[in-house]
């Protein structure tokens, strides 16, 4: 029974990783940008929600909804000011630019909020602690279930967006061949800006869940980035559905690994990542695939 419980908890944990990884997957899929600041943007989103909670006393979920438009605007601005310029300078430059962005965000957060550890758990209401004991060895937490539900809706919604909407088609066409897309009337700059805005919005959602599940501080970003990156690679780079499954695989590897030894949890995830890299070596799938 403990193993069943471990797998179940792993699915919940993995759904969280998938939400974190979603934006990373979008930016790689559409623009071939590996955003090293993705984790920091998630943490920035958590702080944005935190500030609204502190100022208004609202629930973290409400505060997140308020902070979301700000994060979307931030995504647009980021693309139009930093990333678009770096994209013109070859494939290495965006990597360096986002690395620099990561350092800037971390230091600004240090400056504004001190290195103290924060949490959104207290302001998220009973969702943080509620759980159902199914049997003696099997429990389902309300938060785990919520994260899983949101992850499925998020990825399902994105697939529908990409396969059913005009902007979605434009995004897929641009992801495949930006020059050819220009020649059928698609403004790739606008598509890229939308993709980054979407990615930053999902990063903020990941940051919300991070803050409710546990704690964060100004330098929490890189750790989140590693898990998100592993989820994307395990699922196949550029494949959104793969990212959801990759996140869940990573989560299950960690919780099952913890059954072997509590210290082995994170290592088990890394080993899965390494195994996938070896198996896929040279055969990475580099397309944003529809359903």
């Amino acid at each position: 029974m403990t193993i069943v419980n471990a797998v179940l908890q792993g699915i919940f944990l993995g759904a969280f990783y998938a939400v974190l990884a979603c934006g990373l997957s979008i930016m790689f899929g559409v623009m071939r940008i590996i955003n090293l600041a993705h984790g920091d943007l998630a943490v920035l989103g958590a702080y944005a929600t935190f500030v609204i909670v502190e100022q208004t006393g609202a629930s973290a979920l409400i505060a997140f909804v308020v902070s979301l438009p700000l994060m979307i605007v931030l995504g647009y601005v980021l693309q139009l000011t930093v990333l678009e310029r770096s994209l013109k300078a070859g494939i290495l430059t965006p990597l360096l630019a986002t690395f620099g962005l990561s350092i800037v965000v971390q230091n600004l957060l240090q400056l504004a909020f001190s290195p103290d550890v924060r949490s959104l758990g207290g302001s998220a209401g009973t969702i943080t602690t509620a759980s159902w004991q199914v049997t003696s060895g099997l429990s389902v937490s309300a938060l785990g279930l919520l994260v899983l539900l949101v992850a499925v809706l998020l990825f399902g919604g994105l697939q529908l967006f990409l396969s059913r909407t005009r902007v979605g088609w434009m995004m897929r066409a641009t992801a495949e061949d930006a020059d050819a897309a220009e020649l059928v009337g698609i403004d790739s700059r606008a598509v890229y800006a939308r993709a980054t805005a979407l990615a930053v919005a999902t990063a903020a959602l990941g940051g919300l869940f991070l803050g409710i599940r546990s704690v964060f501080d100004p330098v929490s970003g890189p750790t989140q980035l590693i898990f998100a990156f592993e989820a994307v690679v395990i699922g196949g780079m550029g494949s959104l559905r793969g990212t959801l499954l990759g996140g869940i695989a990573l989560g299950v590897a960690q919780t099952v690994g913890a059954q072997i030894h509590p210290q082995f949890a994170v290592m088990a995830g890394h080993l899965l990542f390494l195994a996938v890299l070896i198996v896929r070596f040279g055969g990475a799938r580099l397309r944003l695939r529809p359903v």
Binding site: M170, E176, V184
Partner: protein, 241 residues
């Protein structure tokens, strides 16, 4: 003669020391097919790139219905009615044939909803791809990819259609069908500029032939006159004929 739909005036483009376009003048009218011939490296594809907006000329101007579009991006030109095909087809391989055409109709053509669907169905039927509509473009052969390339260009309902070596590798029957189709587009008032190596295919449909060599237009006029000119024979046909 009525005003040109698309006109290039003294267009120049250098790649390093090489003048690929060395003062090209060209005008295209609605309802005419203009063929462009010339040896490899004459600047034909560069001309197309400059007209479609993939490249910006160093100097000179390009106008669409008397409006200067020299600095407009390829996407903007497409929305204004300039569509093109590539010599090597570039379909969006991860998308279905229908989606390939649909994205062009909605982005470049500005169509929405049912209008876009109807247009796509019509264009796919016209290009003989209707039965493949739900196949992924990845699985198409070369001929089908060329047809899709054309269908995607037509889905933006262009006023000007730029064709780059679309007839290469076709059988006689296939190129006859292509000629018939281009003639149909011409009769609907579309201005067509067609770059092609296979001169006898061009001769069947073009009203005017332009011969380029070393970045310049060296001859222009009725097809039969142009192919008979000594300069053209030297440059293009290598002194034969």
């Amino acid at each position: 003669m009525e005003a040109a739909v698309l006109a290039a005036v003294d267009v120049r483009k250098r790649f390093g020391a090489l003048a690929v376009l060395d003062g090209v003048n060209l005008s295209l009218h609605g309802g005419e097919v203009v063929g462009v011939v010339g040896p490899n490296g004459a600047g034909k594809t560069t001309l197309l790139n400059v007209l479609s907006g993939s490249l910006t000329p160093d100097s000179g101007s390009i106008t669409l219905r008397d409006r200067d579009i020299t600095r407009k991006s390829a996407a903007e030109r497409c929305k204004l009615g300039v569509a093109r095909t590539h010599q090597v087809p570039r379909p969006f391989v991860g998308m279905t044939v229908f989606e390939n055409v649909l994205v062009a109709a909605t982005a470049g053509g500005g169509k929405r909803g049912a209008d876009a669907y109807e247009l796509c169905v019509r264009v796919l039927e016209q290009c003989g791809l209707a039965h493949l509509a739900n196949r992924r473009a990845e699985g198409l052969g070369l001929l089908q990819r060329k047809r899709l390339e054309l269908a995607r260009a037509l889905a933006v309902e262009p006023a000007v259609l730029l064709l780059d070596e679309i007839g290469g590798g076709l059988t006689d029957a296939e190129s006859a069908a292509l000629v018939e189709m281009v003639a149909g587009l011409r009769d609907r008032g579309i201005a067509v500029l067609w770059i092609e190596h296979i001169v006898h295919v061009l001769m069947q449909v073009v009203g005017r032939l332009v011969c380029m060599d070393a970045g310049r237009v060296i001859a222009e006029g009725p097809p039969s006159t142009v192919v008979a000119q000594a300069a053209v024979i030297d440059a293009y046909l290598g002194g034969k004929a």
